[in-house]
C-alpha cells in the first residue's frame, strides 16, 4: 500500500503546482481583457479623475506583478481578498454558491452515474440488439443538443402546461432537502442527459473490449450466466477506463454548467464566474477559477487512486 500513499502525495504536490500555474494564467488572462474594474464599474460617463481615484483606492494602479504577489501572499494565509464590486470577502461570496454547485452536481451524478453504468452493462450484455441500438441512439441524441436547448425542451415538456416541476430553480426561503430536490430536478435532469452518453458508451466499450479475453471464455465454459459473466468477470477488469471517464464527467458537472445555471436561474458558481469576468472583478474570478481547477485535480487524483485499487496487480505485488 505504501506505493499508493506515495503516489497520492506526489499527485497532491503536483496538484498544488497546477493550481499555482492556473492562478498565474487567470491573472494574465484577465489583464489581457480590455478595460479594468474601475472603467467597467463607473461606466462611460466617468471622468479620467474619478477612474484614477477608484483605481488608487482599490490598488489597481500598482504594477501587475505587485498585485499578483499581494494576492498570492493573502491567499496563502487563507485570505482571498474582497470582491471589488461589493467589497464583501471573496470566501463569503463563493461559499454559499459553491455549496449550491456541489449540491446540483451531486444530484445529477447520483442519477447519471448509476444510470449510465446500468445502461452500459445492459448494452454490453445485449450488444447489437434493439435495446443496445436504442440506448446508444438516445444517449447520442441527448449529448448532441446544446445544454440550453435541452433545458428549454424540458421546461416546455415538464414545467410548461402541466407544470410538474418548477422552471426556476431558485433556493429562496431556506427550502427543506426534499423541496430542494424537487426545485432542482429539471437542471439535474438536463445535466444527466448531457453526461450519460459518454459514461454509458465507455462502460459498454470497456466491457465489450474484454469479452474476447480467454478468462471470459473460461467463465462462460464454467456455465456462468451471461449477466454474471459481464458483471462479475468483465466489469472488475474494465473499471479503470470507466472510473476515469466518470471523473471527467463529474468535473464537468461542477465546472461546465454555466448555461444550465443561467436557464434555470440557479445561484451556482458558474454564473458568479461569468458575472465577475464581465465586471473584471479579479479576486472573485481568481477564487472561482482555483475552485474549478482544484475540483479537476482532486477528481482526477481520486480516479487514478481508484483505478489503481481496482487492479490487484498494482495492489498486491508479487
Amino acid at each position: 500500500m505504501s506505493h499508493i500513499w506515495s503516489m497520492i502525495g506526489k499527485r497532491l504536490a503536483l496538484g498544488l503546482l497546477t493550481l499555482f500555474i492556473v492562478s498565474v494564467l487567470i491573472f494574465l488572462a484577465t489583464e489581457l481583457l480590455p478595460g479594468d474594474f474601475a472603467e467597467e464599474f463607473l461606466g462611460q460617463s466617468a471622468t479620467e479623475e474619478t477612474v484614477a481615484a477608484l483605481r488608487r483606492e482599490l490598488g489597481l494602479d500598482q504594477p501587475m506583478h505587485i498585485r499578483y504577489i499581494d494576492w498570492l501572499t493573502g491567499a496563502l494565509q487563507g485570505d482571498f481578498g474582497n470582491s471589488l464590486s461589493n467589497r464583501r470577502p471573496v470566501s463569503e461570496l463563493i461559499g454559499g454558491r459553491f455549496g449550491n454547485t456541489l449540491f446540483l452536481a451531486a444530484y445529477a451524478a447520483a442519477i447519471a452515474v448509476p444510470l449510465s453504468l446500468a445502461l452500459g452493462i445492459l448494452a454490453a450484455l445485449y450488444r447489437n440488439s434493439f435495446f443496445d441500438r436504442f440506448a446508444n441512439a438516445a444517449a447520442l441524441t441527448a449529448i448532441s443538443f446544446p445544454e440550453f436547448f435541452l433545458a428549454y425542451i424540458l421546461i416546455v415538456w415538464l414545467a410548461g402546461a402541466g407544470g410538474l416541476f418548477p422552471s426556476m430553480a431558485n433556493l429562496r426561503g431556506d427550502p427543506s432537502f426534499g423541496d430542494m430536490l424537487y426545485r432542482t430536478f429539471l437542471p439535474a435532469l438536463t445535466m444527466t442527459l448531457v453526461v450519460t452518453a459518454h459514461m454509458m458508451r465507455m462502460t459498454r466499450a470497456a466491457i465489450i473490449n474484454l469479452l474476447a479475453s480467454p478468462y471470459i471464455e473460461m467463465a462462460r465454459l464454467k456455465g456462468m450466466s451471461p449477466m454474471r459473466v459481464v458483471v462479475k468477470h468483465a466489469l472488475p477488469n474494465a473499471l479503470a477506463p470507466i472510473i476515469n471517464v466518470i471523473a471527467l464527467n463529474l468535473a464537468y458537472l461542477i465546472t461546465g454548467v454555466v448555461l444550465v445555471e443561467v436557464v434555470f436561474v440557479y445561484p451556482g458558481l458558474g454564473q458568479l464566474m461569468v458575472d465577475s469576468v464581465a465586471s473584471r472583478d479579479m479576486p472573485v474570478v481568481q477564487g472561482v477559477a482555483l475552485i474549478f481547477a482544484a475540483a479537476y485535480v482532486l477528481l482526477n487524483l481520486t480516479a487514478d487512486v481508484l483505478a489503481t485499487l481496482s487492479n490487484p496487480r498494482l495492489v498486491h505485488r508479487r
Binding site: 474476447a212 479475453s213 480467454p214 478468462y215 471464455e217 473460461m218 467463465a219 462462460r220 465454459l221 464454467k222 456455465g223 456462468m224 450466466s225 454474471r228 468477470h233 472488475p236 477488469n237 481496482s310 487492479n311 490487484p312 496487480r313 498486491h316 508479487r318
Partner: protein, 544 residues
C-alpha cells in the same frame, strides 16, 4: 477400441460433426464430419497442427462454439442429452459441472481480478453443488493433491502472484471442482517449460485416474499425447485422418500424414569443422552482468559466436536468454562486462552505436505476428532496412526487395505488395528473416523463432536459416527452450540457468553424457514417444 474400456458406458457420442466459421460475411466449413465415441474414464488424444480444428472440436464436445463459428450438422450426445437441441440454459447447467475445460494459457484464463480460490468455488457454488466454505476446503484438498506448494494459502493469491506451472495445476484443480464426468484439456502444457511440463502432466494424469474422469486431451505434441491418452485421433484441416489406441498409433501409423508427423525433426545440420585457431569471434560476450532495478538477471556471462556458426542458448523462461540478447543489441547496457564485435568493443548503449554497427547485428522475433507492422506492405517492411542502412533507392531498392523475397522462397511478383495479414504464420516468419537479411548483417539473433510454428513449418524455417547461413557466412545466436531445435540446428550450446551459464560446449558433447546435473534435468524432461516414458521417468526420479 481398447479392451480396458470396452465394457464401460459410453459417455459422449459425436457423429458427423460439421462446424462452419465466418469470414468476410460468408460461412465456410472448417470441421468436415468428425466422429468421437468416448467411454467413462477414457482419455482420447486429439492431435494435429494449428488449423486442424482440434480446439473447435473440443469445445463443441461441450456444446460450445466460439463467436464466428456455428455447428452446422451432426449430433453431440452427452450421457443421453442432445447438446445441440438443448437450450442455452440447459447447456450452461452442464458446463463447469459435468463437463469442464482446461485452457492452454492458465495465465490468461484466470480472471486477474479474483483470487484463485474464489474462481475455484464459483462453479460449485453457482451450480449448487456445495456451499462456499465447503468449496474452499475442497479447493485446499485438491490443491494438495495437485502438489501445489502451500495448499492452505495458495488459493488466497491472485493469479499474477503464482507461477505459470502452478497456475496450470490450479486450473486443473478448478476443472475438477464439481467432479465432472468429462474434462477437455486444450493444450494445457504448451506454454510451459519442459521441466514444469512434467510436473503438470503427472498431476493431471494422477487426478484423472483418481476420479475416473473421461478426458479429451488436445495437443500438437505427439510425445505428450503418448503419455496421456488411451486412444489417439489425428485431425488435419478439419478432417479426421485416423484413430486407434495409443500403442498401435505410435508403433504402426497407417496414413501418410500421420507418418509424416511422426517423422519430423529428422533434419540435422551437418557437423561443421572446428573453428580455426586464432580466428576472431564475430560476437564475444565478456563477463556480462546486467539486470533491471536492483536485481541482476545476468551474472558474469561469457561466450563467443564465430562466423558461419550457430550458438544455441537454452534454458527455462526466466533464465536470462532474452536479456542476453538485449545486452548484445544494446537495448540494456550491462552493469559490468562488454560486448566485442569482430574484436572491437561496442558501445554498451545502442544509441551510441554507429549506424554501421547497428546494421551488423539484426534480430528475428518469436511472434512474427506482432513483430511486423500490420499496416505496411512487404515492399516497405523489407525495403526499409535496405533503404536506411544501405541507402538503396528506386529501381535498385525494388530489385533488392525482389532478391530478398527470392531468398526466402516467396514468389516476388505475387508477394511484394501483400500485407502481413495475407500471409500464413510460416510466411510471416520468413518475412522477419528477410527483414533481418536486408541490412546485410554478419550476425543474427533468432529469439525463439520457431516456437510459435507447427513442426513441419518450423522445420522449413530451420532449413532456410541454415541455407542462408552457408550462403552469407552468418553467425547465429539461437535462443530456444526446445532441445529438439537445438539438436537440429546448433553447432555450440550454451545452457543458462538463473542468469548464469551452467554449461557450454559443442553440440555433440552436450548431448552425450556425462552432463552437468541441470543439463541432465533438461534433457531428461523432453517427452519421448514412448507411452511409458513419463511413468518410468517419475519412477526413476522418485528413486533417485
Amino acid at each position: 477400441m481398447t479392451d480396458e474400456f470396452a465394457d464401460k458406458d459410453v459417455l459422449l457420442t459425436i457423429k458427423d460433426l460439421r462446424i462452419e466459421g465466418r469470414s468476410d460475411e460468408t460461412w465456410n466449413e472448417i470441421v468436415h464430419g468428425v466422429d468421437i465415441t468416448l467411454r467413462k474414464g477414457e482419455v482420447l488424444g486429439l492431435i494435429g497442427e494449428s488449423g486442424a480444428g482440434k480446439s473447435t472440436v473440443g469445445l463443441a464436445a461441450m456444446g460450445f462454439t466460439r463467436d464466428g463459428c456455428r455447428i452446422s450438422d451432426g449430433t453431440i450426445d452427452f450421457d443421453g442429452i442432445d447438446l445441440r437441441a438443448a437450450s442455452a440454459g440447459d447447456r450452461r447447467a452442464l458446463m463447469g459441472k459435468r463437463i469442464a475445460y482446461v485452457a492452454q494459457s492458465a495465465a490468461a484464463s484466470f480472471n486477474p481480478s479474483h483470487k484463485l480460490i474464489d474462481q475455484y468455488s464459483e462453479a460449485p457454488v453457482q451450480h449448487g453443488v456445495m456451499g462456499k466454505s465447503e468449496a474452499e476446503s475442497d479447493a485446499t484438498d485438491l490443491y494438495r493433491r495437485m502438489q501445489l506448494p502451500d495448499p492452505d494459502n495458495i488459493g488466497f493469491r491472485y493469479p499474477h502472484q503464482v507461477s505459470g506451472g502452478q497456475l496450470q495445476r490450479a486450473m486443473t484443480a478448478m476443472a475438477m471442482a464439481c467432479r465432472p464426468d468429462l474434462i477437455i484439456f486444450d493444450e494445457p502444457t504448451t506454454a510451459l517449460d519442459v521441466t514444469t511440463q512434467i510436473e503438470v502432466l503427472a498431476a493431471i494424469r494422477n487426478i484423472v485416474e483418481e476420479f475416473d474422469t473421461a478426458a479429451i486431451y488436445i495437443t500438437h505434441d505427439l510425445a505428450v499425447v503418448a503419455q496421456m491418452a488411451d486412444r489417439i485421433k489425428v485431425l488435419l484441416k478439419g478432417d479426421e485422418v485416423e484413430e486407434s489406441d495409443t500403442a498401435s498409433m505410435l508403433s504402426d501409423p497407417q496414413e501418410d500424414y500421420t507418418k509424416s508427423l511422426w517423422a519430423v525433426r529428422s533434419y540435422a545440420r551437418p557437423e561443421q569443422p572446428p573453428v580455426a585457431a586464432g580466428e576472431t569471434p564475430v560476437v564475444s560476450v565478456r563477463n556480462v552482468t546486467a539486470g533491471y532495478g536492483s536485481i541482476d538477471v545476468l551474472k558474469d556471462v561469457n561466450f563467443d559466436i564465430y562466423a558461419k556458426r550457430t550458438v544455441a542458448v537454452v534454458g527455462e523462461s526466466g533464465s536470462g536468454k532474452s536479456t542476453t540478447a538485449r545486452v548484445i543489441t544494446g537495448l540494456l547496457p550491462p552493469r559490468k562486462g562488454e560486448i566485442l564485435f569482430d574484436g572491437q568493443t561496442l558501445p554498451s548503449d545502442y544509441r551510441k552505436r554507429s549506424r554501421d554497427q547497428l546494421r551488423q547485428a539484426q534480430m528475428i522475433y518469436q511472434m512474427a505476428d506482432t513483430a511486423l507492422n500490420p499496416k505496411l506492405r512487404l515492399r516497405e517492411l523489407i525495403g526499409r532496412p535496405a533503404q536506411m542502412y544501405l541507402g538503396l533507392q528506386g529501381k535498385a531498392l525494388t530489385e533488392r526487395i525482389r532478391q530478398l523475397l527470392d531468398l526466402i522462397e516467396l514468389e516476388p511478383d505475387e508477394y511484394i505488395d501483400r500485407l502481413p495479414s495475407e500471409l500464413s504464420g510460416g510466411q510471416k516468419q520468413r518475412i522477419g528473416i528477410a527483414r533481418a537479411l536486408a541490412a546485410e548483417p554478419k550476425f543474427i539473433i533468432c529469439d525463439e523463432v520457431t516456437s510459435a510454428l507447427d513442426q513441419l513449418v518450423a522445420e522449413g524455417i530451420l532449413r532456410l536459416l541454415d541455407k542462408l547461413q552457408n550462403e552469407f557466412d552468418l553467425a547465429y545466436m539461437f535462443i530456444t527452450h526446445d532441445l529438439a531445435t537445438v539438436r537440429s540446428i546448433a553447432d555450440e550450446v550454451v545452457v543458462m540457468k538463473e542468469g548464469k551459464v551452467v554449461a557450454q560446449g559443442p553440440k555433440l558433447e552436450m548431448f552425450q553424457p556425462p552432463h552437468d546435473p541441470y543439463t541432465e534435468l533438461l534433457l531428461s524432461s523432453v517427452p519421448e514417444m514412448d507411452p511409458n516414458w513419463l511413468s518410468d521417468l517419475l519412477k526413476a526420479r522418485g528413486e533417485a
